[in-house]
């Protein structure tokens, strides 16, 4: 084919195939070069208010941490009696428990197949272990300096916020690690409280606010989005109020943080989408879109 | 030490210090000398000789800077060949002469490669000269051993 006369080469059309010897040099660039190039085919369009609604999960978690710290501060200062907190916590837990089943009329429970007996058992285990270990917790960090404990708690609570499952599909997300870090922080902080009953109540409260409350939230968000927004607003304001009673500056900073996360960040996300330039073409690694795990289960 | 305070204590401490210093100094000198001797005796090679005797063998002598000599003699019966090979040495690629020894169990195989002029590392032109004369003697040896 290379031996064809030169006149033919002008007419011969270039083909994107390798198995034929074509009358073109190897570094020939055809008009069709890069014609399969596509840009931004997977770029998503975002709605501002939808993004704001989704950001409420982050707000909720920030508020949870804030409420926890505020409650701890009150306990440490002796402004809050442990009995009272325990009672309130118990009552709100019971209300939450009833709500949890009422929202979807027990469908979630049926699906998971978890009995009420198991729930009771879990609750018993929590209470027994926490109560049994609370004297140990009290003396655990006696000799460690308070600053170290604070640094550790801050670090762990930050970790809790970072690794929390906000619904994003990323490798870093690990709800187990997040929950464990929160419990670790609560144990650290609880060991600073004056008495072992305080420690016990604090750890119980941590379980309620870091483990049980997000579960209820998730269900609320899925079933009744409108009431969820209300609950979020209520929760955020109560957290702000609690913080305000401790430090005005802190409350203002926290309010700014909440506003920037819920309003400014979505705005920036939508603006920056315009500058996206994603190149696609036949060289891309193909994605497996199906769920292949069904063949194995 | 604490019994003699004042200037006397100071003086003794000084003397002791200087004594210790001189001891450290002398120890350092001694160790350096010892190291130097060891280096001259075990490391620094002054001269390397390759003696190839027809029908007898190959003798390699390396004389150290201290005058110590170490000699290895390889009988002709064990020598398979003498060749020039290449090797990566430090950050260089060098040519070197080596003696291939016959494998006593499996005659066509090579049991060992003995490098020659390991510290001198002469250049290729020099090696070729040595190689040619070695080959001459080996060829003569082969001729006479097969012909009668």
């Amino acid at each position: 084919m290379c031996a064809q006369p030169v006149t033919d080469t002008k007419e011969a059309k270039w083909q994107k195939v390798l198995y034929e010897r074509q009358p073109f040099p190897d570094n020939y660039v055809d008009r069709r070069f890069l014609e399969e190039l596509r840009k931004n085919i997977y770029a998503r369009k975002y709605q501002y208010w939808a993004v704001v609604f989704e950001s409420s999960v982050v707000i909720q978690q920030l508020c949870s941490v804030c409420v926890f710290v505020v409650i701890w501060w009150y306990m440490d200062e002796g402004l809050l009696a442990p009995h009272w907190l325990f009672g309130t916590g118990l009552a709100s837990s019971l209300i939450g428990y009833v709500l949890f089943d009422l929202i979807d009329r027990g469908e979630g429970r049926k699906k998971s197949g978890r009995t009420r007996w198991a729930d009771l058992k879990s609750a018993l285990v929590f209470i027994t272990f926490t109560y049994g270990f609370s004297p140990v917790l009290k003396t655990l960090t006696e000799s460690v300096s308070t600053d170290t404990i604070y640094a550790m708690s801050v670090f762990m609570l930050l970790g809790h916020l970072i690794f929390f499952d906000y619904g994003a599909n990323a490798a870093i997300v690990s709800s187990t690690l997040s929950l464990n870090m929160a419990i670790f922080a609560s144990v650290c902080l609880a060991s600073r409280l004056p008495r072992s009953l305080h420690a016990f109540v604090m750890v119980t409260f941590a379980i309620q606010i870091f483990a049980l409350w997000p579960m209820l939230q998730k269900k609320l968000k899925a079933c009744t989005p409108r009431s969820y927004v209300g609950v979020t607003l209520l929760f955020a304001f109560s957290a702000l109020g609690g913080l305000l009673s401790i430090s005005a500056v802190g409350a203002i900073l926290f309010a700014l943080l909440l506003v920037s996360i819920s309003c400014l960040c979505p705005f920036y996300l939508i603006r920056l989408q315009l500058f996206k330039e994603n190149i696609h073409g036949p060289w891309d690694e193909a994605e497996i879109k199906e769920d292949l795990s069904r063949f194995l289960s | 030490m604490d019994a003699c305070g004042g200037p006397l204590g100071n003086l003794t401490a000084h003397v002791w210090l200087s004594l210790q210093n001189s001891m450290i100094l002398s120890a350092a000198i001694f160790i350096t000398l010892l190291g130097l001797l060891g280096y001259l005796h075990f490391v620094k090679i002054d001269q390397e000789t390759l003696l190839i005797i027809d029908s007898l063998g190959i003798q390699m002598t390396s004389s150290y800077a201290s005058g110590k000599e170490s000699t290895t003699f390889i009988e002709m019966g064990k020598v398979k060949d003498v060749v020039i090979n290449e090797a990566i040495y430090m950050q260089k690629v060098i040519y070197y002469l080596c003696i291939l020894l016959k494998d006593p169990v499996e005659p066509p195989g090579i049991s060992e490669v003995v490098p020659v002029f390991q510290s001198a590392k002469p250049r290729l032109d020099c090696l070729i000269e040595v190689y040619r004369s070695c080959q001459e003697i080996l060829a003569h040896q082969k001729d006479t051993s097969t012909s009668p």
Partner: protein
């Protein structure tokens, strides 16, 4: 092929005569063993050769003539020398000549089979190699694998290369012995051994050694029979026996002695050397032990030692108490958990209290025990050292206990923490696949796990500190024991006889040969001097090292550090399941 003539240096200035030796056809080399002087009767010469050949199983022959004269051999003499070739037919026929007073040598080779070349000298084809007969006779070539058929008899052809020359010289000892005082009908010149007087002593010793060996062997067999008696196989005894280094050392020495005094003759030179090495090592050991004994038992040193021992043990216990009290405070400003610290500290203090009372209970008997132990030094320094090592082990038993408690506690903590740390991250160890898998835990599992993790983490520094301190103490003891063991091993395994031989008679242990060029001129034969290249010391030690008793483990540093970190117990003796790293 070039003809090589090996010529003994001791014959280079003797009178003219015949060259007697062996012809090695594969290498076309003539090994001259002796010069047979004129006059002689050919029949007697042949008879002598046959006799020597029968004794040494080496093909002896007259190889040629040797002429040592003032000037060049005159015509008739030359003819005479050539004529001798017809009496002693040999091919090729060597004619060596040296002018008296000068250094010029000449050599002629005549081949009878090729008539054209008859009497035609071809001097450039001959190489003269001088060798020192005595050294070659006495030396042993290494590696000795070249001479595997030394006992096999008449197969000298199988030895190759220069080993054949060594072999020839070594076998013709008979030739050198038979004519020491020139009594026979033929007069020979070769190396003559000196030191006849000493050899009488040697002969006497040889005679005496037989019965002595037999006697000692009987005694030793009795001892070993007693040691293998059933009583020692019972559980506590056998366990103690395997752990005490004294027992190991005694067993090891017993093996040595039985080998040395076995009535069997040493089969190979290597075995002989081994026996000699063992004997020297045992003798040195006993000599050192006896000197120690005499030092100990003079001037009531045992009593002083015994008096010093109890205060020392007390002092050690006191120091330990101080250490524990320091640990129970805030050692080095570390943040310890007070409650756990107190509990551990009290527990260890109680142990020390127990220990002190035990020592005081023992104190009246210590001198007596020491005196008897001191006697064991007459069995050898190594035995005494082993006993010392055992005593150290016994006296530091409390340290060992502390170490074990600390290590067990620490090990438990480390393993608990590592698995809880996996739980903390939401992972678990998959035993089937030997890897870490991710796993979804229940809420209560997570909670309890994290609670325990937190508690263990905050308690870890306290345990780790106790572990660290007691491990350091334990390592100190083990190091001391290791040093003692190293010393014992050194005495046990150093081949002293071989080293002495290498020092005084370097030629006895030959690594090979080396050649010096004496004369290299055209028209004259190449003259070389063959010297013996002695074995380097490192190789002597390596070749003749005696086997050690090998009851101690050989940890690599990496595995040791790993074990220390994970709180696994380290022992100075080998565990059953241990593999040698």
């Amino acid at each position: 092929m070039l003809l090589k003539a090996f010529f003994p240096t001791c014959c280079s200035s003797v009178d003219s005569g015949l060259l007697v030796g062996r012809w090695v056809p594969e290498q076309s080399s003539a090994v001259v063993l002796a010069v047979l002087h004129f006059p002689f009767i050919p029949a007697q010469v042949k008879e002598l050769l046959v006799q020597v050949q029968r004794a040494s199983r080496v093909g002896m022959a007259v190889l040629g003539t040797w002429c040592h004269s003032q000037q060049e051999p005159e015509e008739p003499l030359g003819h005479f020398l050539e004529g001798l070739g017809t009496i002693f037919p040999h091919d090729p026929w060597l004619q060596l000549c040296r002018e008296r007073g000068s250094k010029s040598w000449s050599c002629k080779v005549s081949c009878q089979q090729a008539p054209a070349a008859l009497g035609v000298p071809c001097e450039d084809q001959v190489m003269l190699i001088f060798y020192d007969q005595r050294k070659v006779l006495l030396s042993r070539l290494h590696p000795s694998a070249v001479l595997p058929d030394h006992q096999a008899g008449d197969a000298p052809a199988s030895t190759r290369g220069l080993a054949a020359v060594f072999d020839t010289v070594a076998r013709s000892k008979e030739l050198f012995r038979s004519n020491q005082f020139n009594e026979g009908p033929v007069r020979l010149s070769h190396w003559q051994s000196e030191g006849v007087e000493a050899s009488i002593l040697v002969e006497l010793a040889k005679w005496a050694s037989g019965p002595v060996c037999l006697l000692l062997a009987c005694l030793l067999s009795l001892v070993s029979a007693a040691s293998t008696c059933r009583v020692f196989r019972l559980w506590p005894l056998s366990f103690i026996g395997s752990k005490l280094s004294t027992c190991e050392q005694l067993r090891h020495r017993l093996e040595h002695l039985t080998l040395v005094f076995s009535t069997q003759k040493a089969e190979s030179p290597a075995q002989l050397m081994r026996k000699a090495n063992m004997l020297v090592s045992v003798l040195l050991d006993v000599a050192l032990g006896l000197s120690l004994l005499s030092w100990l038992h003079g001037k009531n040193r045992i009593g002083q030692l015994a008096d010093a021992l109890v205060p020392v043990a007390d002092h050690v216990a006191k120091e330990l108490q101080h250490l524990l009290q320091w640990l129970m405070g805030a050692p080095a400003g570390l943040k310890m958990n007070r409650a756990l610290d107190q509990v551990l500290g009290r527990f260890f203090l109680y142990h020390i209290h127990l220990w002190i009372s035990y020592i005081h209970l023992m104190s009246p008997f210590i001198e007596c025990i020491l005196w008897h132990v001191g006697l064991s030094a007459c069995l050898g320094l190594t035995v005494a050292l082993s006993i010392l090592s055992d005593i150290i082990a016994l006296l530091t038993f409390h340290i060992y206990c502390f170490y074990v408690y600390g290590a067990r506690l620490y090990c438990l903590k480390i393993y608990g923490l590592s698995s809880l740390w996996r739980l903390f991250r939401g992972k678990k160890w998959n035993v089937l696949r030997q890897r870490v898998d991710s796993c979804s835990y229940d809420l209560d599992q997570l909670f309890i796990g994290t609670l325990l993790f937190t508690i263990l983490l905050f308690l870890l520094p306290t345990t780790a500190l106790y572990y660290l301190v007691f491990t350091l103490l334990r390592l100190l003891v083990v190091t001391v024991q290791g040093l003692i063991h190293l010393l014992v091993e050194l005495i046990n395994s150093l081949p002293l006889y071989s080293l002495g031989l290498r020092l005084c008679r370097p030629y006895r242990l030959a690594a090979g040969v080396k050649f010096c060029i004496l004369e290299h001129e055209a028209g004259r034969p190449l003259r070389l001097l063959m010297q013996i290249n002695p074995l380097p010391y490192t190789r002597v030690v390596h070749t003749y090292r005696l086997p050690s008793c090998g009851c101690h483990p050989k940890h690599s540093w990496g595995s040791l550090c790993r074990k220390l970190f994970f709180g696994e117990l380290i022992y100075p003796w080998r565990q059953r399941g241990d593999k040698q790293d």
